[in-house]
Symmetry: C2
DNA sequence: AAACGCAGTTGCCTTATCAGCAACAAGTAT
DNA sequence: ATACTTGTTGCTGATAAGGCAACTGCGTTT
């Protein structure tokens, strides 16, 4: 079948991952047949893959309905990531403080490929509030936090975003014109905060500021989100200031938290070493690649 | 190699999962070679598996040290589980309230195979406190929450636990005698709460109570943990009462939260149907199986 | 009731994929 | 400089995976 020369394929694993990737917050349960249809694989293949993943509890299956769901094993793995990522731990308290001061929901996102991944949220106590869930993905060009990554992250990210799906239009306000987006990004670089005025969801706006490591690289973005119709210009300005402040504090806390001399550190960690030749990279198949933010 | 007749194997996926399973909170980074040694696989195999998983960001690799870590893709999956599991969402506020009243750390655990998995924690504000991290696994027979599952969950769980590793002894207080353990379980069933007096960690004790669904099945356990030496009998009794109360409230909240009529529910869900023949089950290879709590 | 349809699992056989080896590439220690 | 590391990659025989079709449970239809 003349598979394009891809040195390390491990196609079976790839298929298993395609199965896992089908699960999202919106669609968190599938019948075997559904998966097969959606992924264009044969029933028997999906059935056997699911069985394999089930053995490790990465997936689970409702004994009654036979619907397949994400399992506790996936949660275990994810929690390892969350623990290691100081960011999540470090940033959460600042989100809480931010919400307490502003009254609007706040969240933190990480870059995941060429989308932003929500990794922590604190909800506003108000009845009218914007809700965001941990694990949700958001586009880069139509959200405040996304723009932070586009403006301050790897330039390749912007190129990939434009190329990929083009700049999809979600609302009337979405900035779908590359030139206008670039103009916004320049401004963001200057001011240090990014705005979104109903460009992703009608009626919902946001401000975002970067969490930076000691080298000045963006590691995450903190955002406040609010209903556009009840927040006037003055309040928005204040909200921007507060968000920026929270992000700055979080940056300091993050820098301070990185690799604390490791109390009971046992395993030797060799001195830094540049990655070797590395061949053709090509991360995440069929979704094309986006260079990760350099460190 | 006459692999024992296991109808659906998907051995490559299994190997990939063995790689993932190597990662824990204690060991969250590996060199490729380390993994190969530990899993008794060849360097080249691990290298290619890691490359495959990296493409989906389930794993990631430090560009400098080349150490392999759990990636953001795993976090994404895990968060889907966490969201779907109302338990985590529902229970957390009650943990907070419990800590506020008692001053001791509290956490919630789910059953993961034949261990308990910590899924939510709230720490005590005191300087002297017991700390537990989300994602940690704890044995069933030497922890309060574990005993809840043994006492109120599927009876097969107890058998599997005894068979598996025997009742490993962690401290002088560990109940390693099956008969004594069963006696404790009987009492737990009667009283509705379980105690641990330094049986897992010397000096640390805990009380746990079950979160039950509408059918009376254990879906989770809530525990308060405390330093044994500063908590006298009177305080322990109060702590037990509070923990039980929190668990009861959480149970009600959980029952109320299950499947809210599904507002925009689109996909048809067929009527319940018992799982078919199902062949030889055998969950989680090489760790033997433990029947899941029946529903 | 009996027949049909649908979803999921499983045995069999062919073919494609993977494990192992060894060479190589990069970096580190002697 | 030279000898060890550790990780990646081309190559080829051995193995594991895919497709098919049969079969099992169930629910629905005539």
């Amino acid at each position: 079948m003349a598979q394009e020369t891809d040195g390390s394929a491990r196609k079976t694993v790839d298929k298993a991952m395609r199965v896992l990737n089908a699960f999202t917050h919106e669609r968190s349960e599938f019948a075997i047949g559904e998966l097969a249809r959606e992924l264009d694989m044969h029933k028997s293949v999906v059935s056997r893959l699911v069985a394999a993943l089930r053995r490790w509890r990465i997936l689970e299956q409702d004994p009654d309905t036979r619907l397949v769901r994400v399992g506790v094993g996936a949660f275990r793995l994810g929690s390892i990531f969350a623990t290691r990522q100081n960011i999540v731990r470090v940033v959460t308290p600042y989100l809480g403080a931010l919400v307490a001061r502003t009254g609007h929901s706040a969240h933190a996102v990480l870059l995941d490929g060429n989308r932003a991944l929500v990794v922590a949220t604190v909800e506003s106590p108000h009845a009218l509030r914007v809700i965001m869930r941990v694990g949700e993905h958001r586009p880069l060009h139509s959200t405040a936090s996304g723009k932070i990554f586009l403006a301050l992250g790897d330039p390749a990210l912007l190129l990939a975003t434009e190329r990929e799906r083009g700049l999809a239009r979600f609302t009337a306000g979405t900035v779908a014109d590359p030139a206008r987006l670039r103009a916004q990004l320049t401004r963001i670089r200057r001011e240090g905060i990014a705005w979104n005025e109903g460009e992703n969801n009608p009626g919902a706006g946001g401000v975002s500021a970067p969490v930076l490591d000691e080298g000045g690289n963006v590691v995450a973005a903190i955002s406040s989100v609010f209903p556009l119709n009840v927040v006037d210009a003055a309040e928005r300005a204040a909200l921007g200031k507060e968000t920026l402040l929270a992000a700055k504090r979080a940056s300091q806390a993050f820098a301070a938290s990185v690799e604390p001399p490791a109390p009971g550190a046992a395993r030797a960690r060799r001195a830094p070493r540049r990655a070797p030749a590395a061949g053709k990279e090509r991360e995440t198949p069929r979704l094309s690649s986006a260079g990760r933010a350099r460190r």
